[in-house]
Subunit: 404 residues, 2 copies
């Protein structure tokens, strides 16, 4: 996995005498890497808990290398304070200092690789309940579908909330919110949120009012009696953002840069707001790619700290985006069925539903980004590679930290 | 509460004919405010669920005011599409568009008002379990202490995990993590994290590896037998940041701007990392104030995407900060006792403990920022004021959204 990686560029700055750097020839003896002693040491000794247990800041700044002993797979370094360290070439290789992904200019909106699902053209991504419960290989297939397509169905799920909860827990524990954890409800107005009525719900993302919106949401329709309707709507927000960027780059920029307040105040005892204002499109720091969409006109609060021109630009952009997500070719309509659960990426996919009559019993739950991504990367790359690439900011497909 | 607010400056831009704006005289008839129709309408009709139920983007851009009828406390506006809206002057007052907190220049590090606890000078902030369980007034006193001092003790807690859990739930539900929810453990190595050993733990914040670190943490020592030690350490990160900024503004700037990877990989089945890299000091968007500290040398992963000069600057800054938080006048050492619970603000306070011998049984739990802040603002200001000020970015102490 690190072969492709090693071909990427390395940087070499001039020697800094104050740093007293360590020059380590790589395994192939072709390139020279530069290391700061404190920096190199900071991972030493972290064998058992994978946490750093040496006290980084007690290391004297002025320390020199007294001996450098290259072996076949490792190099032993002896320092002027008599401490010695052993580094493998592969560890040194991926820890070479690089500065990338910082090219200014170009479009502000960039998408990670993903697959756009077009109804009528593509087959619905689906995995089997039995296989997912049976082994991790099917879990990886499930998560891969969610990551690539933005959603996935699970067929053959027992029509039972407990079994559905166990299915979701194959990914991770279920997130608690002020609404509760795993839920199971029949449509009524117990919670004063429009999601709990039987009306039409336009395409939106959930949890825009949280500092950290849930990454995954699962729905399982347990029963629908005395009526019909309630077809599920999914719209790929990444695809819509990409179209907006093509048709109107300035609009994409407005949705990336203007930050809004959001809130959830339906229940009398809460007024949940994110810790800060957030944009509709959120760009990732080191990858410079769109990674999170907040789109819920129901929960967005009036922004006050802007001028009329900025406001007009933003509303024009929002109107354009809204128009794109309503185009028929963007919509994926599916009828939920008892026995088939739907899970989707709430940082990317907008969801909604048509109006329905009668009585519906649904269950479902949320999973956090951090837990989903941890599980996905570990299954996809294995523990050793995931650990080795922590902090790796390259966009190469062999870098687990590139999957956000 | 809105009197002080009304004295702050208002902005007035020139009429934009394309917007066909609404000019509304304020109650005092002294100032003129400018409103965008779409913007003003977006909150109309949101009476029941407090969510926006009118479809903002279906509003035609070219709409004019046909009638403006000021009354004593409200103004009735009739629009060219025959829709009419009723606005109270107080609502219009706080929704006046302003652009503030964006003065460039000056120190990059600014602190919100807070109280620094100095051991030997101040009395430990303490509330009583009985009163907190009895009514919301004592809960507000509790949260006020946490917000102002960064921590608070609760005395008279039954020496029992269940009662401790109920105490914590007076604030909000308890956060689940991959370690579980409310915990109750005796020191051993069940979880492979250094927090679970009996060694000395330097001052740090928890959850640096989460996209959204827990805001509050509660500890309750249930028993300590066959040994001693394990004194609790608290260090006020805001005070330390303020000192760093005074002694070395460039260092404060380095800790604000350089972003790092973090991880929690102690257990074989997870490798939790935040969704992005984060700085040690995090500045708030609209308030331009420090609001979150991530400081855990055990969980910080080697950063790769930087040059040697940036690296050196950051390590010098980190070394300086580390030196400040070790100064005796910064440290608050307290001996935990069965019956007295400690809760602290994990976005601000660093915590640690001295080495201990014997067997300790502790219980505790985390609470999210969003739930803590919701509870605090509602108790402090009342629901009506909290809702009225959503999106208010002023730093005035009568603005609930100013309390972050």
């Amino acid at each position: 996995a690190s072969r492709g990686y090693n071909q990427s560029g390395r940087c070499l700055t001039e020697m800094n005498l104050n740093l007293l750097p360590l020059l380590v020839p790589t395994a192939k003896m072709k390139k020279v890497n530069l290391f700061d002693y404190a920096w190199a040491l900071q991972d030493a000794g972290a064998l058992y808990t994978k946490q750093r247990i040496s006290d980084t800041f007690s290391i004297p700044r002025k320390v020199a290398i007294t001996e450098l002993a290259p072996r076949e797979n490792t190099v032993k370094v002896t320092w002027s304070d008599r401490h010695s360290s052993l580094y493998s070439y592969s560890w040194l290789g991926v820890h070479t200092h690089k500065k990338i992904n910082r090219r200014p200019g170009g479009s502000p909106l960039r998408l990670r690789p993903f697959r756009f699902f077009k109804q009528g053209r593509d087959e619905l991504p689906t995995v089997s309940y039995e296989e997912v419960m049976d082994g991790d290989f099917a879990v990886l297939e499930w998560l891969e579908n969610i990551y690539q397509w933005g959603f996935c169905f699970v067929k053959g799920v027992p029509v039972d909330p407990h079994a559905t909860e166990e299915l979701l827990e194959r990914i991770s524990f279920i997130r608690n919110t002020h609404y509760g954890g795993f839920w199971d409800f029949t449509s009524d107005l117990t919670f004063k949120d429009t999601a709990y009525t039987s009306e039409f719900l336009g395409a939106h993302t959930d949890n825009t009012y949280f500092t950290d919106p849930a990454r995954l949401q699962l729905f399982h329709l347990l029963s629908h009696t005395d009526g019909d309707g309630g077809t599920n709507l999914l719209v790929d927000g990444f695809q819509a953002a990409s179209i907006l960027n093509e048709e109107n780059p300035g609009a994409a920029k407005a949705l990336l840069s203007v930050k809004h307040p959001f809130h959830a105040s339906g229940n009398d005892d809460v007024c949940i707001q994110p810790a800060d204002h957030f944009p509709v499109f959120r760009n990732h720091g080191y990858l410079r790619e769109l990674y999170q969409i907040r789109w819920n006109n129901y929960d967005r609060a009036p922004k006050r700290d802007w001028w009329v021109d900025e406001q007009q630009r933003w509303y024009d952009a929002a109107r354009h985006f809204d128009q794109i997500i309503r185009r028929p070719e963007m919509e994926v309509w599916t009828q939920l069925q008892p026995g088939t659960a739907l899970i989707f990426d709430n940082w990317r996919m907008l969801h909604g539903r048509s109006q329905f009559t009668g009585k519906r019993r649904m269950c479902g739950g949320y999973i956090n980004n951090d837990d989903f991504i941890s599980r996905y990367r570990l299954l996809k790359f294995g523990r050793e590679a995931v650990l080795r690439h922590i902090g790796d900011t390259t966009r190469h497909f062999t870098n687990p930290s590139r999957f956000i």
